[in-house]
């Protein structure tokens, strides 16, 4: 668990009114999955490390039970971030120490081998599953990766596994960063028991124990670049002080796919590939109202999944125990009809399909200098979404759902028979008819062997500025088709070890 007071080595930027000027070997921007792991790896190698985080360090006892409090305290722009395109697609990002790992479902997936094969074939990356495997293994050990325990499976997860099995579809309990989940069903609001192994209670404090320093509530303005070499980071503390952190050996940017391109741009990088090739996993969900109690508030928030359709339909099916207010917004009806269904919220389950989209978008800045994503799902994504929703609809009826709510414009808002799943299969090929949402973001500072189409070399270093590394999912040449946190951490750990090795040989020379 986090300590009640900030541990030593932490500077709270909210209270920092005077300038800071300090020197380290490395400066790491961001404390999410990528930044925390990289900072810890470098600190373990004996380097002095500073972590800079835009958000505050929020203790578990201040996590709210409801979405309103969570969005106010832990989520960027109070959860009102959307990707713009033909349709609006909301996305959520953590904005606190630990980043999105504080508000996600802690799902651990090793990227399938075909992803690395594609990266090798199409982008010239020599990175193979064999290179990443030791890092996956180390992370799994450190973060207690395990399958959801039967005791905390929860009815929405159990039903999913049961119906998938009955249909001959391979499905399994999720593997998560879980040190003894108590089934509070509050992964998305911040785990109240500290059993979810987010970065805020693992790699960040572990890096601090190894001597790293952390500057919270400090927004990075730019990387300090001198003579095409990164020599530090300039940040603005929330309290008003200017924070200048000098880096003798390098700067690692891990601010996320949305924020990293902006930081690079403000630091003078002008690569034509910067901000391009953004990808994500657009997701669609359905709700079902059952006779039996479901109680989404108990059990693993997300605890069951199937990748049986990952290759054939480019979709992953999964459960999600939604907080009641987020589920309520998707329940059809208004007024008395809506409150009538809300009263039966304890009988509602939500399942989702996550699409491995081929579409690419861009990340740039708007007129006010804010980071902005432009993205459109393509026809294939919509077809994949329809297939996923139709399968899940049939499954819900097979489990005894009284009603299923597909959430597709142009279709009845309430389906009452499995035959109506056909309507979903024939639903319009129109992005605006679907309620997509996404949390997995990739690319926009791509790593590739091809200099004309990448921001970073295969060694994670930017092509324009030496000793400036990008170690978050911005460098991923494509999306994965499975939840990315594990691969983000593994690649960041691998990158940090390589960077440390490089720094040592430079120092020795």
């Amino acid at each position: 668990m986090q300590p009640d007071t900030l541990p030593s080595g932490v500077t709270d930027g909210a209270l920092q009114r005077t300038p800071v000027d300090a020197v380290f070997d490395f400066v790491v921007v961001g404390t999410g999955a990528a930044g925390a792991v990289a900072a810890h790896a470098l600190a373990c190698e004996g380097f002095s490390v500073a972590m800079v985080e835009e958000g505050a360090w929020v203790h578990a006892k201040h996590f709210g039970t409801d979405v309103h409090s969570t969005f106010q305290n832990l989520v960027r722009d109070t959860g009102m971030t959307i990707m713009k395109g033909r349709s609006f697609i909301p996305y959520l990002q953590g904005a606190c120490v630990g980043g999105s790992t504080v508000i996600n479902s802690a799902i651990a997936w090793r990227a399938p081998e075909d992803v690395f094969d594609d990266w090798h074939r199409d982008f010239g990356l020599s990175l193979g599953l064999r290179d990443v495997e030791p890092h996956y293994a180390a992370l799994e050990k450190a973060l207690s990766v395990r399958e959801v325990d039967a005791k905390v499976q929860g009815e929405h997860n159990r039903l999913f596994l049961e119906v998938a099995k009955a249909n001959g579809v391979e499905a399994a309990p999720m593997r998560r960063y879980d040190a003894g989940c108590e089934g509070s069903g509050r992964c998305l609001q911040g785990c109240p028991t500290g059993k979810k192994q987010s970065m805020a209670i693992t790699y960040v404090p572990w890096a601090l124990e190894r001597g790293a320093q952390l500057f919270t509530s400090c927004k990075v303005l730019r990387v300090d670049v001198r003579g095409a070499r990164a020599v530090g980071v300039v940040a603005q503390a929330k309290g008003g002080g200017r924070v200048h952190l000098r880096a003798k050996m390098g700067v690692l940017v891990a601010a996320s796919t949305v924020q990293t391109p902006g930081i690079l741009r403000r630091s003078g990088l002008r690569s034509s590939a910067l901000g391009k090739h953004f990808q994500c996993h657009p997701s669609v969900g359905i709700g079902g109202l059952f006779d039996r109690p479901i109680s989404m508030d108990f059990g693993a928030t997300q605890g069951a999944e199937s990748i049986a359709f990952r290759k054939s339909h480019r979709t992953k099916l999964e459960t999600i125990g939604m907080p009641p207010e987020l589920a309520a917004a998707r329940i059809p009806g208004l007024g008395s009809a809506l409150t009538n269904r809300l009263e039966q919220m304890g009988h509602v389950a939500v399942w989702a399909g996550q699409v491995r989209s081929r579409a690419e978008g861009t990340v740039d800045t708007d007129l006010f200098g804010r980071d902005r994503i432009r993205f459109n799902v393509d026809e294939e994504d919509i077809k994949s979404s329809r297939r996923a929703l139709a399968i899940l609809t049939r499954w819900m009826f097979e489990c005894g759902a009284r009603e299923v709510w597909p959430g597709i414009f142009g279709l009845p808002s309430v389906l009452t028979s499995p035959d109506q799943a056909k309507l979903i299969e024939e639903a319009p090929i129109e992005a605006r008819a679907y309620g997509f949402i996404t949390t997995h973001l990739f690319g926009a500072a791509r790593m590739s062997a091809n200099p004309s189409d990448s921001v970073c070399t295969p060694d994670f270093e930017t092509r324009e500025v030496s000793r400036l590394f990008v170690v978050d999912s911005s460098v991923f040449p494509t999306n994965l088709g499975v939840n990315p946190q594990h691969t983000i951490m593994a690649l960041s750990r691998l990158a940090a070890h390589r960077i440390a090795e490089g720094a040592r040989s430079v120092a020795a020379a």
């Binding site: 109070t78 009102m80 309520a328 917004a329 009806g333 809506l338």
Partner: protein, 139 residues
């Protein structure tokens, strides 16, 4: 960004029509809660939500062809207007109203008592979702 007092009254009327509550205090909570959301929302989102509110308040004119504001309608007519907006063929219209519904849901479940009730399994008969045609006449 700060809401005007009259906008808080609008928010209260619109959100209470979506998520009816049983006490005036809780209904008032919609107004202040919505003002709180606007105050902490990014500029663009705050503008969008205010626009959504204005659109709903003036919508009886377009939906029902009546010179009334939203607050002056009977409850069933309010539902009918909101339903028409949510099923509008214009994407921006239904998205803006959907954004209001999401905020309403967040504020509705913010009350610990309501939350507890929501999470307690309780099976019951289902009300049909068809909005009654005579609702407009009731206004």
């Amino acid at each position: 960004m700060r809401l005007f007092a009259f906008e808080e009254v609008w928010a209260r009327a619109v959100l209470a029509a979506m998520f009816p509550v049983d006490s005036e205090v809780r209904e008032k909570g919609y107004g202040s809660g919505f003002a709180g959301i606007i105050a902490s929302a990014p500029f663009e989102a705050a503008v969008g939500l205010r626009l959504a509110l204005l659109m709903v308040v003036l919508s009886p004119l377009l939906v029902m062809k009546r010179p009334r504001t939203f607050g002056g309608l009977a409850p069933e007519a309010k539902e009918r207007v909101l339903d028409a907006l949510l099923s509008s063929s214009m994407y921006f219209v239904r998205q803006l109203v959907m954004a209001l519904k999401t905020m309403g849901a967040i504020l509705y479940a913010h009350d610990p008592e309501v939350r507890r009730a929501l999470l307690t399994p309780k099976r019951g008969a289902l009300v049909t979702l068809t909005v009654k045609k005579e609702a407009s006449r009731a206004a």
